[in-house]
């Protein structure tokens, strides 16, 4: 109950801060419209062969739109945890929060919650705008929600891990750099990993975004049944089960080290 109360306070805090910058708040949604339109026009000039693996019978616009929309979740996870922690370190509010009786784990989770909520709204806007040209299979909403939950959990694990690095190293978090760039390169955001040289394509199996995008596209664009999506969900579950505890342990370790070094608020 106390944890929920604290998480609610984080959402309220970030809502108040975000909406105090009114223009920026509105512009980010306008940016989504622009992005969707740009990709709509680009996709007119990209005609992948119909037998391209992963793109069978799918319009490229539909493929890339889902890739972009859900890449936002990864970006949120990567940036919101570490960037928030760094920002709070720099403003001294991290120290003030750690003085309270709320646990460090709740603080790091709460710091990123608003970003995830906003990302979900943005993804809905992406899909809403895209639905003018794409027919989404709404009968697959249940598996979509399960996939989304597992994806957020797995990505959060990476995000918390990156926050732990920021807390300890202050700058130069290697996790954000590695996972973000590899995810764009190999994860199937803009093109199918199956279409890459096989030795590179194999590497994409170690990225949660590959499985998340594959499952979401199959569910939303092809209406694949819950049962057929279970193997992909299982892999996402394994990612979440490994990455979340790993992130939590790393963060706890980083807080302890920072307390021992006296560097909790150094940046």
């Amino acid at each position: 109950m106390k944890t929920l109360r604290a998480l609610g306070a984080f959402i309220k805090r970030d809502f108040l801060i975000e909406t105090s910058y009114r223009t920026s708040f509105v512009l980010q949604f306008l940016g989504i419209f622009m992005s969707v339109l740009i990709w709509r026009f680009i996709s007119r000039h990209v005609t992948a062969p119909t037998d391209t693996p992963g793109l069978e019978g799918i319009d490229y616009f539909a493929y890339v739109l889902l890739g972009l929309a859900f890449y936002h979740y990864l970006s949120s996870a990567m940036l919101s945890f570490s960037a928030k922690i760094r920002q709070e370190q720099m403003t001294g509010t991290l120290e003030a929060m750690l003085l309270t009786t709320t646990s460090a784990g709740t603080i790091v989770l709460g710091s990123a919650l608003w970003e995830f909520l906003m990302t979900s709204v943005k993804v809905l806007v992406y899909l809403g705008v895209g639905s003018f040209w794409i027919h989404f299979r709404l009968d697959s909403l249940l598996p979509c929600l399960v996939i989304l939950t597992l994806t957020i959990l797995a990505f959060s694990g990476i995000g918390i891990l990156s926050a732990a690095f920021i807390l300890y190293l202050k700058r130069g978090d290697p996790i954000t750099y590695l996972v973000s760039s590899l995810s764009v390169l190999l994860g199937g955001v803009f093109y199918p990993p199956e279409d890459m040289p096989s030795w590179i394509g194999q590497l994409s199996r170690f990225l949660p975004i590959t499985w998340a995008l594959r499952a979401l596209r199959r569910a939303l664009l092809k209406g694949t049944s819950f049962r057929d999506l279970l193997p992909d969900m299982g892999i996402l579950l394994i990612f979440a089960a490994v990455l979340l505890p790993l992130g939590a342990l790393a963060f706890r370790f980083a807080v302890r080290r920072a307390r021992a070094e006296g560097s909790l608020v150094q940046y």
Partner: protein, 331 residues
């Protein structure tokens, strides 16, 4: 009166991180170590106002941060209301409110009230209780009128008072204040000192730990204190013990018109300064107790002089500091 805080041989060593350049040039060299606190043992009685006095870098903030569980000690033990700061930090956080000297530690685009409500929820207060508590504290600190204004528009004094409100949200029995009047003008500083002494200490019964390098503030507020210097406790005790003259002598300043300086005597030492108006200023160190001071006055009067004024000079903390410097007590 039992102890609210008990420190036993507390030590903190900071190990400086080596830069890449240093690691490349001297790969096997040990990292530089800086002693933040050395062998600090103190007992702070419940319900007292305890001063931590010392120059910048003396270890005052390190000590307060250890008590607030923000920094882990390297050795020794620190107990707050009986709980260890290293192994039992949750009850310690419940028992302590820490007012940092950092003005930035709020959300600048939120109002004072919104800031406090956020932190109140992190202290576990339910919605209605949080609102009641926050409004009560804002009224107590005379911030109710500006509660809805963005924090960034607050003056330094308002920011400092808001920081005190935040430290009191969970009504802790102990309040640690790190140089609370540092950025305040004299009037605001005086009001804050009065609020701490009257409302928080006298009426609220709170134990106050006040870190300051303001000697006047420490003298005015603290019943007992510790003088820290380079991480060590140089002196500790009740204010009158710390400021007591060494060697069992009292100091007086006499102004004498006419007459002659007193003859040398084992019971006193005098320094005489002739003034332009014909009087003499006599600084006298006289044996405490017994007839020595009366005898000195008798000698002065017998020489035909008139005593214009006589003042006993108490030793202040400034003089304690000066003396520590002179005698090398400050290493």
């Amino acid at each position: 009166m039992s102890d609210a805080i008990l420190l036993e041989r507390l030590g903190k060593v900071y190990v400086k991180r080596r830069s890449l350049r240093e690691m490349a040039l001297r790969p096997f060299a040990r990292a530089e170590r800086v002693e933040g606190l050395v062998d600090v043992s103190l007992a702070i009685p419940r319900g007292s106002i305890f001063g931590l006095l010392g120059p910048n870098g003396a270890g005052k903030t390190t000590l307060l941060k250890i008590l607030s569980c923000l920094i882990l000690p390297t050795c020794g033990s620190a107990r707050v209301e009986g709980h260890s700061v290293t192994s039992d930090d949750r009850p310690v956080r419940r028992s302590i409110g820490f007012v940092t000297s950092d003005e930035r530690s709020f959300y600048w685009r939120l109002s004072g009230e919104e800031n406090l409500l956020f932190f109140a929820r992190l202290y576990g207060l339910a919605s209605a209780a949080a609102t009641r508590r926050v409004r009560g504290l804002l009224a107590d600190m005379e911030l109710a009128e500006v509660a809805g204004r963005q924090f960034m528009s607050y003056s330094s004094g308002m920011k400092q008072r808001l920081a005190i409100c935040r430290a009191l949200l969970h009504d802790p029995p102990i309040l640690c204040l790190d140089e609370p009047t540092r950025s305040l003008d004299p009037i605001a500083a005086k009001h804050l000192r009065q609020f701490i002494a009257r409302r928080l200490h006298r009426d609220g019964g709170k134990t106050i730990v006040l870190a300051t390098h303001n000697l006047h503030e420490a003298e005015e507020m603290c019943g007992s204190l510790a003088v820290l210097d380079r991480g060590r406790v140089a002196r500790a005790g009740r204010l009158e013990e710390i400021t007591a003259r060494p060697g069992g002598r009292d100091h007086y300043l006499l102004v004498l018109s006419g007459g002659a300086p007193p003859p040398p005597d084992a019971r006193w030492t005098v320094t005489v300064e002739r003034r332009d108006d014909g009087t003499s200023a006599i600084a006298a160190e006289v044996d405490r107790g017994g007839p020595a001071f009366s005898d000195l006055l008798r000698v002065l009067l017998a020489s035909g002089g008139t005593i214009v004024s006589c003042q006993r000079r108490e030793q202040g903390l400034q003089e304690v500091f000066d003396l520590m410097d002179e005698t090398g007590e400050r290493r």
